[in-house]
Symmetry: C2
Subunit: 335 residues, 2 copies
């Protein structure tokens, strides 16, 4: 079977391709485990690829704009059994460039679903949604069934993509699954346009001896998940039987709720006061407004019952990041 990963050059895409190569198999449309024969990584930039010697699986990097008409029709074919749809314009960028966010996050998702509909193969499609689909968090808390009232364009785009995917699923065009991710930390690489970019930067930059700015109040709670757990969740989300998901293919993944202050305290415990001292506190109203609209936690009983696991110690997350740092270097030049 063939696998398509959109956003293949991103940190989740890169971890996912490694996890898939290590696994070697995925369930097909009938729920039977099949060897992975080919993986295509689509992104705006070349996706680093594993060296050919590492695996018998053929990996391709395709450079292109997901919303470009026709592109996905060529990338999804009758052998495509699985799609991991990770590509997105992130929250801060989608807020700043209104047209771009809708183009990639809505039109791109729709183009993908249309490419799947054009085939009769009903691929499994795992879509990463976000805390940002919420916005007005009710006093009773958030669970998988809480109404979506996004307060950012990114959140609206993710909420809309969820509804789109669910209708394509209901009509039988895809076997879609939606995983709502907490804020991922520690994300390797450089700061990006996500409003949550700081949640990784305040750990990653100090560990590299660089200063970092925290744009929200130290008491601001963040709902966190490590990249390791996120990738495990992507694979589990794919492998679950459709029956296990029941009426709703949307799962709010487990997370760890910590005030930013506690994240920096964990950094201090792991790496010392000098490293933690590289964090400068400088509030940014635009970022605070977006971050404050995200839930600080949600009910994870359904996710746990389905087998999803979160982190329980942010210090351990930081230590894993340090250990795995070499892994965050691209595998090889994109082909």
């Amino acid at each position: 079977m063939k696998v398509l990963i959109t956003g293949g050059a991103g940190f989740l895409g890169q971890r996912l391709v490694r996890a898939l190569l290590a696994r070697g198999t995925l369930c097909d449309a009938q729920g039977r485990s099949q060897p992975i024969e080919e993986i295509t990584l689509l992104d705006l930039v070349p996706s680093p690829l594993p060296a050919r010697a590492q695996s018998a699986v053929v990996c391709h990097s395709v450079v292109g704009d997901i919303a470009e008409p026709g592109l996905l029709n060529d990338l999804v074919d009758d052998r495509t059994g699985s799609v991991f749809h990770l590509s997105a314009v992130v929250s801060g960028t989608a807020e700043a460039d209104f047209g771009l966010g809708w183009r990639v996050n809505l039109d791109g998702t729709r183009a993908l679903l249309e490419a799947c509909r054009a085939r009769a193969t009903r691929p499994r499609v795992v879509f990463t949604s976000s805390v940002a689909v919420y916005g007005a968090v009710p006093a009773t808390g958030v669970d998988d069934d809480t109404a979506l009232v996004p307060r950012s364009s990114y959140g609206a785009q993710k909420a809309i993509a969820e509804l789109l995917l669910q209708d394509y699923r209901r009509k039988g065009f895809v076997d879609g699954r939606v995983l709502r991710l907490p804020t991922i930390s520690v994300r390797p690489g450089r700061p990006n346009g996500a409003a949550s970019s700081f949640a990784s930067a305040i750990i990653r930059e100090p560990l590299a001896g660089l200063p970092a700015v925290c744009p929200v109040d130290p008491s601001t709670p963040i709902w966190l998940l490590s990249p390791q757990r996120a990738v495990t969740a992507l694979v589990l989300g794919h492998e679950l039987a459709a029956e296990d998901l029941g009426a709703s293919p949307v799962v709010n993944l487990p997370g760890l709720s910590l005030p930013v202050r506690a994240m920096v305290a964990a950094l201090e415990q792991v790496a010392g006061a000098e490293v933690a001292g590289l964090v400068r506190w400088e509030r940014d109203a635009a970022i605070e407004r977006i971050v404050a609209s995200w839930p600080a936690r949600w009910d994870t009983r359904r996710a746990h019952a389905l087998g999803f696991v979160g982190d329980d110690d942010f210090g351990a997350v930081i230590r894993s990041y340090q250990v795995e740092l070499p892994l965050t270097v691209p595998l090889a030049a994109g082909a």
Copy 2:
């Protein structure tokens, strides 16, 4: 000021243009009452127009496809203070023709919002949504904040259009308002592709001496609103101050919850047993599935507090339909 009505040839559009001509004014972006100077009715077919002598307001009929690129950019200009966005592919048709539903109900709405964004005038946009945005009705009942889990493409499209409009509103591109309509009855004209089409046909056809088929079980409850009340609600929804709506521009309109059996009983009371006997009961699983996914009622406290009014006697609704029947004849040939 100029007013644009999409779906201008439809029964709500036709009633609305009459109501606007009778009124003569609408609030502008600053909430000041302004004389209506021009009304454009857009539809796939020519919209019947009032005779010129009837009013000083210039009325145009524009024939075109709302999703056609560029069309709305010509119809929304700097003088357009108000848009009533009524056009839609109805539920049964959207379920049968997947591509068409998404094209009109999503792309059409987006084209309209983009045309508004291109102007700096922030028009008031009144959008008609539907009971169909719900689907999994929680045991605790439905209010304005219940999560949307549509079970039809039409419902998904309306839910998505709501989210789109709310993001354009949040960004200040439009002063949008969303009115979720109950099933409208008695709608004049002919049966259409709406799954709810029967809710008017079982009254309208027998009153005209024609047989009608009811495709759902007699005990099926329907959440009803008369066209008269719906048009009053469209105008009120437009005239409300943005502050009155608070954080959410979405209002679930009041309705009357009746089992279909009671609707036919009301027909019998108004028009006699012979007329009511023209209703044949013949269940259709596809229609039953869609209709059963809609709430039979919802909490209307917020709508009532805002001044919206529903019907309280379906017999009176039928009698109004009989009295106003001449009004349902087109005003004049479209120009």
